[in-house]
């Protein structure tokens, strides 16, 4: 069964494939670099995974946080804090690993960390608009749900949330300046978050993530 390592590798693959799309989404209202930043993060993630072949899930999450954070920008520290919060949640859970409720608690902690660092809220046209529906979806699941199914549900919710940002007015990040002119295109950070959750889901299903099937 897939673990943190497989999910991270799937996310790295998917983010590298989505480089152009994420840059394109960051162009109209941002500075056009989100795809490059996430590709750099993917590269750092691969190095981190290679450097820690035997690490536990919680330790891997800490390494992934460092890797994500190393790229800087707005998304680096946000993803880093999210991954660190997830690592803490896994550690606190003790032996109870790999269950859907734990994943849901991790996602919830990740979201809280992002809010805590960035002071945005759902509806501000940020990463949170993909993460928040995913968290809510995961919290609805029970321990009887298959992990793959739970993540697939969460991924669908995240993707829908990311798509919905196209209708939002930005209230955080670089796009905020644009105000009304920021409408009409999806938020790049929400899109990368959706791609990551989709990749995790596909790792559990043994399928390539959705983005990887594109040309």
């Amino acid at each position: 069964m897939a673990g943190v390592r497989e999910c991270a590798l799937a996310a790295a693959d998917a983010l590298e494939l989505a480089r152009d799309e994420l840059c394109r989404l960051d162009s109209p209202a941002g500075d056009g670099d989100h795809g490059v930043t996430m590709a750099l993060a993917a590269h750092a993630v691969r190095n981190a995974l290679d450097a820690a072949p035997d690490a536990s899930g919680a330790d891997l999450l800490v390494h992934l946080a460092a890797a994500a954070g190393s790229v800087g920008g707005a998304s680096g520290p946000l993803y880093a804090s999210a991954l660190l919060a997830a690592a803490t949640t896994v550690r606190q859970a003790g032996p109870d690993t790999g269950t859907v409720p734990l994943v849901a608690r991790c996602a919830e902690a990740a979201q809280a960390a992002i809010v805590n660092l960035g002071h945005a809220k759902p509806g501000d046209k940020t990463i949170l608009d993909a993460l928040d529906p995913a968290v809510r979806s995961l919290l609805l699941e029970t321990s009887n749900t298959e992990m793959g199914d739970a993540l697939a549900q969460a991924a669908t919710a995240a993707r829908a949330g990311a798509a919905a940002t196209a209708q939002m007015t930005a209230a955080a990040g670089r796009a905020r300046v644009l105000g009304e002119r920021s409408r009409g295109f999806a938020d790049p950070g929400a899109t990368s978050m959706a791609i990551i959750i989709e990749a995790a889901a596909s790792a559990f299903r043994g399928r390539p993530p959705r983005s990887a099937t594109r040309p």
């Binding site: 480089r19 162009s27 109209p28 209202a29 941002g30 056009g32 490059v36 954070g69 300046v177 002119r181």
Partner: protein
């Protein structure tokens, strides 16, 4: 359309560029670690000044390291704030036991990364203060000054803070002065064409052939509106008027800085400087100091900004204090 670049692997751009830049200025600066530029001869006993931000804005930020300015610059990826560990190294390098002031542009990414670094430094017992430069009047309305972006006003704030620190003032004073310089500084710019983040494969924005973007940031983030390209005198008038409308009590003497974004010819920058000076003087202000050139660029973007600092004696003396950094000498 993509931009033609003289680079190798797009992912190596920042490190290769820093190598070349620091080598060419090795009488003044050195690399402390891959992304941290420091003074060649570390300053003695004084408050440390750390500046930094994303790369792609050269000569910012490494160009402002030197006597009378910063002790260290933390450099990020292109248009991306440096991460906390890089900033922490810069803080350590700048620290001489009298605390460190960090001055950086007010962007979501920088606020988070510099903030995290400050926490890490505090945990090591280094006293750190932060001043976020927020001179871009186009980026938030009056009353929401703290939400504004930092653009070319960076240079004024770095200069005044650097001079205060070099002059032996304590951390609280240096912080007060940096804040004061920021409070009295307003900028606004126009972009005429875009740039391309290496590896992104596309320009950061599209602008029709006859249009300019008014209020553009230094990363290609859009401004407040688009309009037809106008002669330099008119553009200067709009920028100066917007800046002056934002200030309550106009003081008599100002410093004027015109910053080229990268691809705009120097003759154009000089013409805009002349136009802005005349606009300011026509409105009763007295331009007593002028700076024109490329201080904080956006890769190969075309456009320029106008920065006005409303001077009082202390700020003027700090602006005029000696400085010797790759991109600023007095």
């Amino acid at each position: 359309m993509t931009f033609k670049k003289l680079i190798n692997d797009p992912f190596d751009v920042v490190d290769e560029a820093l190598d070349g830049f620091v080598y060419a200025h090795s009488s003044l600066i050195a690399l402390h670690e891959p992304r941290v530029v420091v003074r060649r001869s570390p300053a003695g006993s004084k408050v440390g000044i750390v500046v930094g931000g994303g790369s792609g804005h050269e000569p910012a930020f490494g160009g402002y390291v030197g006597l009378g300015m910063a002790d260290a610059a933390a450099c990020g990826n292109i248009f991306a704030s440096p991460p906390p560990n890089v900033i922490l190294s810069a803080i350590r390098a700048a620290n001489h036991g009298h605390g460190v002031l960090m001055a950086y542009g007010n962007y979501a990414g920088d606020v988070m990364n510099f903030g995290l670094a400050a926490q890490l430094a505090a945990a090591e017992g280094i006293e750190v203060r932060e001043v976020r430069v927020s001179d871009d009047v186009a980026s938030a309305p009056k009353g929401e000054e703290s939400k504004r972006r930092g653009i070319a006003g960076d240079i004024i704030v770095f200069k005044c803070a650097g001079a205060a620190a070099e002059g032996g003032r304590p951390l609280a004073e240096v912080e007060r002065i940096a804040r004061d310089a920021n409070d009295w500084t307003r900028s606004m710019g126009v972009a005429l064409s875009a740039c391309e983040v290496p590896g992104s494969g596309r320009p950061t924005f599209e602008l029709p052939d006859d249009q300019m973007e008014i209020g553009m940031g230094v990363h290609g983030e859009p401004g407040i509106k688009r309009g037809p390209l106008r002669p330099a005198d008119e553009v200067a008038g709009v920028l100066v008027d917007t800046i002056l409308a934002d200030v309550e009590s106009l003081r008599g003497d100002v410093a004027l800085l015109v910053n080229g974004l990268g691809a705009t010819a120097y003759v154009d920058q000089h013409i805009l400087f002349r136009a802005a000076r005349r606009a300011l003087e026509a409105r009763g202000l007295n331009v007593v100091r002028g700076y024109v050139g490329e201080f904080i660029t956006s890769l190969e973007m075309a456009g320029a900004s106008v920065t006005v600092t409303f001077l009082h004696d202390e700020l003027l003396a700090l602006l005029d204090a000696p400085a010797s950094a790759p991109a600023f000498r007095n």
